[in-house]
Structures are given as structure tokens and as C-alpha cells.
Symmetry: none
Subunit: 416 residues, 2 copies
């Protein structure tokens, strides 16, 4: 089956935003075994949008559209598609009820144009928006399937995976679908991982082995063709076993979840708790942990001890350990350990993690940008420190130090 992606929005044509939706949808289609031959971006213009629909329908079995479902006059996707397929739009009452309720909860008056976001085509299936206001749609017109999704990635992604994917699978017939498995790695960079597997990557046929890196984690996707997991798993087994043999100590999950998810699950299983003290990561580690729903069961919080004064005021680090001649300084193994120890004393959590380092753009204590110490303290006399030298931007130093701290805790949790 062939698909095309049409991303709609003048902000894309002006370069105000980057088209991450196309990448996400391309990956999802690849995983479903749907081939993409073209991606198009078109602005908020009715005649050019109509031309794009016509062209895509002439070339593909599936046309996936994102954007242009908002409440304003600029949002034309449903109007133009309605003209093209000759189906009127009507207010979808369940979606309208959701929108009305949301505005009531906000205690703000609903602007009339918001009703536009509840519009659906006569003969289409609604794609529920679990996150925002605009309802999506799936329909078939003259043999071409259209999937209509909102533009904001936060709304588009769950709508596609939860609601559009089952719809697409139902219309895909006679295809041997792709069967994929994600292996997720932490505590190792993409090039080191590739170096370990280069002979396997070079010789790959079936399954295919595709490594990629994102936000300080590396993923390998193994892919073969199979109708069921029972048929697919044996075809992946020997490749996965060989990868585990070489890199098992870094493999933290066999599905696409971040390491914070796995760490939180392990803590819940063991009924153990965590607090964190962050200097150079500046709150990112806490932010990652609290992004997971239900994290409050085991993650209790912590301190963003960005300045030396706060390290002293909130975590009792002696000032003469942080500053002055001969002091180890804030960026040191000693301080990393004491930050975690003192935090654990105050909070009483089973584990305490600490991060202290130089995120740049300038040196700190004369120490190089990217030098980071991680401290991990746990009950039963667990006292671990880890020194890292990270290259990259301020942002990547924050990300990699946060992820590596989680990796250190993960190693403890699976071994104890």
C-alpha cells in the first residue's frame, strides 16, 4: 500500500516551524509496512490545497493530512476536502460536547468559532482527539483513503497511533505487514553502539537492523515481515540474542519507552522511592520523571541546587567544600556524593541521585564544559559516583547527564 503525507500550514512554508509531523508519520507508516513516495507541504490556501488533494489521490492509496483543523478562518482542511469529495460537513455532537465541557471547566466563555473544530464529513469515521479540541476524520473516496489529523504534534501523535492506525489496519488487505521490535539502549552513544554491531549492520538482510539516536538514547529497530508476533518473533530471535550478547548491559527495554519510564516502573515494583539533586541539569531530570503519569507514587521531588548558596542552604553542603583554595569545588566527585547523601537524609527516600557539572557556555571552577559527576546513594550502603565528559551543546549536556543518571540507577535496580 502506498501513502502520501500532506502537511498543511503557511507557518511551515515560512519556516516558522519544522515539519516533525512528516517524520513521525513516515516512521509510523514504515512500521505498518506502508510505503511513502511523496511528502508535500502546502499553505493555508484553498485552491492549492485542493490541487494537492487531487494529485495525492491520483498517486496513492492513502492520503494522510495534518494541520488546518483549528478554529480560525485560516484553517481550511475540512472545508476543502468537503468540496473535493462532495460531502457536506456537520457538527459531530460527541466532539461538540467535549469542547463545550472543556470550556466550562476552564470557566472561560467559548468563542463561537470553536464549533468548527467539531465538524465531520457525512460519511466519515471520527478520529477522537484525546488531547485537544479538533476531531479528526477517516474516510474513503473513490478508492483513496483519507486520514485527517490536527497539526499540533501533541494532538496528532496520539490520534494517529490510537485511532488512525487501527482504522488503517482494517482497510489494509492482502499485505504481509511489517513486524518490528524496538531495542532501547542507555549509557552508550550512537557511534559506539554502531561500532559494536558494524559487522551485523553491514550484513543485514532479514531482519533489517536500523539504529537511530534521539534525546540521548539510542534505539535499534529490528524489522521483518509477519502477520503475527508469533510468526515474527522467531525471525528476530537470533539477531536479538547476538545484540544482547554484545550490548546487554545497556539494553533497558524492548519497546519504545524512555529510560525514566523503566526506572519508575522498577521503583514501583520494589516499592522504593527516589529524590534528585540537580545542578547542571537544571531541573530537566525532574521534568523527565514527572512527565510520566503516576510518577508521584515513587518520585518525591528534590532540589535544583543551581547556585552554590542553594547547595549550602537546602542541602547543607559546607561552603568550604564548594569554594576556596584546596576545596574540591561544586563540580567534583565529593560534592556529587554529598549532595545525594544529604538529600537522602532530608527526604528519607530509598534512593537519591545527584548531578553536578559544567553545562557551559563558559568554564566553571576552571573545569571543562561537559565535565559532569553523578552521585547515587541508596539504602544498604550503596554509594556510587560516575564521572562523564560529554561533548555537545548546553542542551545536550543537560540531556545526556540526566539520562546517564537514570542509567546508573537502572543498573542498581536490576541488580538488587
Amino acid at each position: 500500500m502506498k501513502a502520501e503525507i500532506i502537511a498543511i500550514g503557511t507557518e511551515l512554508l515560512l519556516g516558522q516551524i519544522v515539519n516533525t509531523n512528516a517524520q513521525f508519520l513516515a516512521q509510523e507508516c514504515a512500521a505498518l509496512g506502508i510505503d511513502i513516495y511523496y511528502q508535500t507541504v502546502v499553505g493555508d490556501n484553498a485552491s492549492r490545497l485542493l490541487d494537492s488533494f487531487k494529485l495525492a489521490a491520483s498517486r496513492a492509496d492513502v492520503v494522510i493530512c495534518t494541520g488546518g483543523l483549528g478554529p480560525t478562518q485560516d484553517d481550511l482542511t475540512k472545508d476543502v476536502l468537503s468540496d473535493y469529495i462532495g460531502q457536506a460537513l456537520f457538527i459531530h455532537q460527541p466532539s461538540m460536547d467535549t469542547i463545550t465541557k472543556l470550556f466550562q471547566n476552564r470557566e472561560t466563555p467559548m468563542v463561537e468559532t470553536n464549533a468548527r473544530q467539531a465538524l465531520l464529513f457525512e460519511n466519515s469515521d471520527p478520529l477522537q482527539n484525546d488531547v485537544g479540541l479538533a476531531v479528526g476524520a477517516a474516510l474513503t473516496f473513490e478508492g483513496t483513503h483519507f486520514i485527517v489529523l490536527p497539526g499540533p504534534p501533541k494532538e496528532m501523535k496520539p490520534m494517529f497511533t490510537r485511532h488512525a492506525t487501527p482504522w488503517l489496519k482494517a482497510v489494509m488487505t492482502d499485505e504481509v505487514p511489517l513486524y518490528s521490535k524496538m531495542l532501547k539502549f542507555a549509557g552508550i552513544g550512537e557511534s559506539s553502539l554502531e561500532h559494536e554491531l558494524i559487522d551485523m549492520i553491514d550484513a543485514q538482510t532479514d531482519p533489517t537492523i536500523a539504529p537511530y539516536a534521539k534525546e540521548a538514547e539510542v534505539t535499534i529497530r529490528l524489522t521483518t515481515r509477519a502477520h503475527t508476533p508469533e510468526e515474527g518473533e522467531p525471525k528476530l530471535a537470533s539477531t536479538e540474542a547476538e545484540i544482547r550478547k554484545r550490548l546487554g548491559q545497556h539494553l533497558y527495554a524492548v519497546k519504545d519507552v524512555p529510560i525514566e519510564h523503566v526506572v519508575l516502573e522498577l521503583l514501583k515494583e520494589k516499592n522504593q522511592t527516589l529524590s534528585v539533586a540537580e545542578s547542571c541539569s537544571g531541573g530537566l531530570l525532574s521534568d523527565l520523571l514527572t512527565t510520566e503519569p503516576g510518577s508521584s507514587e515513587v518520585f518525591k521531588g528534590g532540589v535544583v541546587c543551581y547556585s552554590n548558596a542553594l547547595k549550602h542552604q537546602l542541602l547543607d553542603i559546607p561552603m568550604d567544600m564548594l569554594e576556596g583554595p584546596g576545596a574540591p569545588g561544586a563540580i567534583s566527585e565529593e560534592t556529587a556524593l554529598l549532595l545525594a547523601e544529604n538529600l537522602q537524609k532530608i527526604t528519607g527516600t530509598d534512593y537519591a541521585l545527584s548531578i553536578t557539572g559544567v553545562a557551559g557556555p563558559s568554564l566553571s571552577e576552571g573545569k571543562p564544559i561537559g565535565l559532569v559527576y553523578i552521585g547515587l546513594v541508596g539504602k544498604e550502603s550503596i554509594r556510587i559516583t560516575k564521572k562523564l565528559q560529554i561533548s555537545g551543546t548546553r542542551d545536550s549536556i543537560k540531556w545526556r547527564s540526566s539520562k546517564d543518571a537514570l542509567y546508573q540507577l537502572w543498573k542498581q535496580l536490576i541488580n538488587n
Copy 2:
């Protein structure tokens, strides 16, 4: 003048990389006053690539292609364009000399296929590659200008700005470039903002008024045509003045910066400091502040007091205020204020901000998801609380509460 961007590469269609080249080129074209109506992505396939060239040439004055200039059999851009325009390819000797020299410097033998990267069309201008091996090309065929660029952004960007831009300017006659100004708003949602300006948006001609929303901030771009800022500013002045009259209390910047940037700059100017206490935002506010280089001058850190125990242990909130019958609870105006007051006492910063609320997915203290209280305490008896009811996901509640806390502080800073 109208242009189209064609990005060439199967890795884009598979979603292995995101098409940042299109965003860069779109921004550059907007700055040059070149309108982009379409962007296309096509794979490494000769017939589909040819179709894309034909279609783009039928619609646009300029076709900008990126990718497919490498040494391998997959790299087809020059071959296909050569067929289309009926001009043979030849080895461009200066480019060939550069490639040969680079391999000599690397002390590695040159693979024969690398000569493909020195190919040029008979009647084209070379676009020098200052970073990599493949030479680019600029040419005009039947009234359409073609710009041929490499795919790697590190090579493409300097080639476009240093070599393709002067070439394009030379062929652009009688064009007045676009002049744009960004107005950034906080503390107001996209639909409320549009509601306030709907008559202006509906009647817009020159300048155009384009609102859009991202990460809990709203931006308006005003655009007109002008050769210089001196010519452009007066054409925007009355529109900007009217927007300021209606929404001035939300307008925090006239360039594309996040509100945390402006807040940190104001604190630096005033030589004042900040600490934050985060419950439901879970570290995001600290993370946003520390993402800005140089934030450590004024942002001292704070507490992620996710659990009630930590609110008590680190910020001395009485347990009988947080729990038990008749207690206001963690999610209350009283607790928001006391979190900020106690944090300020401990850290001695000029300002302390607090956020406490229900991020979901379940209710807390029987209070609704999205209910958030913000506390702001400053020297000179500043004691402010703000109640919000935010709709959306856990993630959007974290974002909007963090941005609104910054908005509360911004209002104080500009008025004091």
C-alpha cells in the same frame, strides 16, 4: 517571485531524519521576499524525481533542490535533472581538484565514484562547497531557475547563503523583499488573542497579521514589503500600535524569544535574583530557565516539592496545612503563597515563584485536573497569587503553568 523546495532522499520518506533543510530554506526565501507555495519530499527514484522537477517547474519561478549529490548509485539528482533539461554532465575541474586534494590530505585513497561529486551541467554556474565534496549548481531552463544543493545541512546552509543567495538576487528583478516583525504574547491563549483581534485579522491587507501558538506562547507575525527596516517600520506602526492598545499587557517581546529569556534579562538589568518551588510543573520551570545560557547569574535554583513530605521537609509547610479535615491542602492559594514565602526566606532571592496544582491523570485532593495556583513573593511586600484552570494533557498543564508563572513575574518586573 515564487519558489518550491524539493528535498530528495529515501531517508526522509522513511522518517530516519527530519527535513530541517526545508525549514532553513523557507526562512531564507521569506527573508529574500521569495514566496514558497509548496515543499516536496521525494525518494531516490529517477522517474518520481523527474515528475517532481516537471511539476515544480510548471508552478514556480525557482526550484530549490537539496540532496542526492553524493557519490553513490542512489544519488540521482544531477543525472535526472541533466535528462530533464537536455544538458550533458561534465567534470568541473576546479571541483575535481578540490576533491583530489582533500583525499590527499586525509591520506586515504579516493574511491572512483567520488568524481561524481564534481559533475556540473553544460550551461550552469557552479555553487562552491566550502565544507564538503559535492559541487552545487545554479541554472535557468525554460524560464525556471534551478538551484541544486547537497543534502547535509552543514554543506547546504553555507552553500545557500554564500553562493546561491547572490545568484538568486541577481536574477530577481523588480522585487521588493518581505519585512517582518514578531510580537510575542504570554498569559493569553491563541483563540482568546484571535478573538480580540478578529476584526483586524479579517480586514488585513498590508501588513498581514499571522497569529500562531507553540509551547504555551502565542506569536503574531506582521509582514509587509520593504527594502530596509527604515522603510518597513512605518508601514507596521499603526497596526502594531492598535495591537498594543488591545493586548499590550500580554506583549512581552518584539522578537522571537521565549518569555523566560525576557524575564532573565529583566532580572539581570535590575540585578535581582529568583528561586522557584515547583509541585505540579515538576521541574519544567527550572529546566526552561536553565536552558538559557547565563541564567545562573540570576536564577539560583529551587525545590521540586512534588510530594507533601518534601513540601514539609524542604520548605517547612506545616503538615496540618497540607492534609487532614479542614486543611486548605497542597493545591490551594494559601499553600502556593507559603511555598514562595518560605523558599524566599531560605534562599534570600529577591523573588520566589511557586506552582502547585493537579497535572493529572487523576484528581488530587478531590480537585479537578488542570487547577493550578501560582504564588509570587518579592521584596517590598509583593504577595501575589493567581488561580488557573488549564485544559489539556499532563504535559500542557506543566507547560502552561510554567509559562504563566513567568508571565506573573514579568508583569511585576516591568511595573516595578
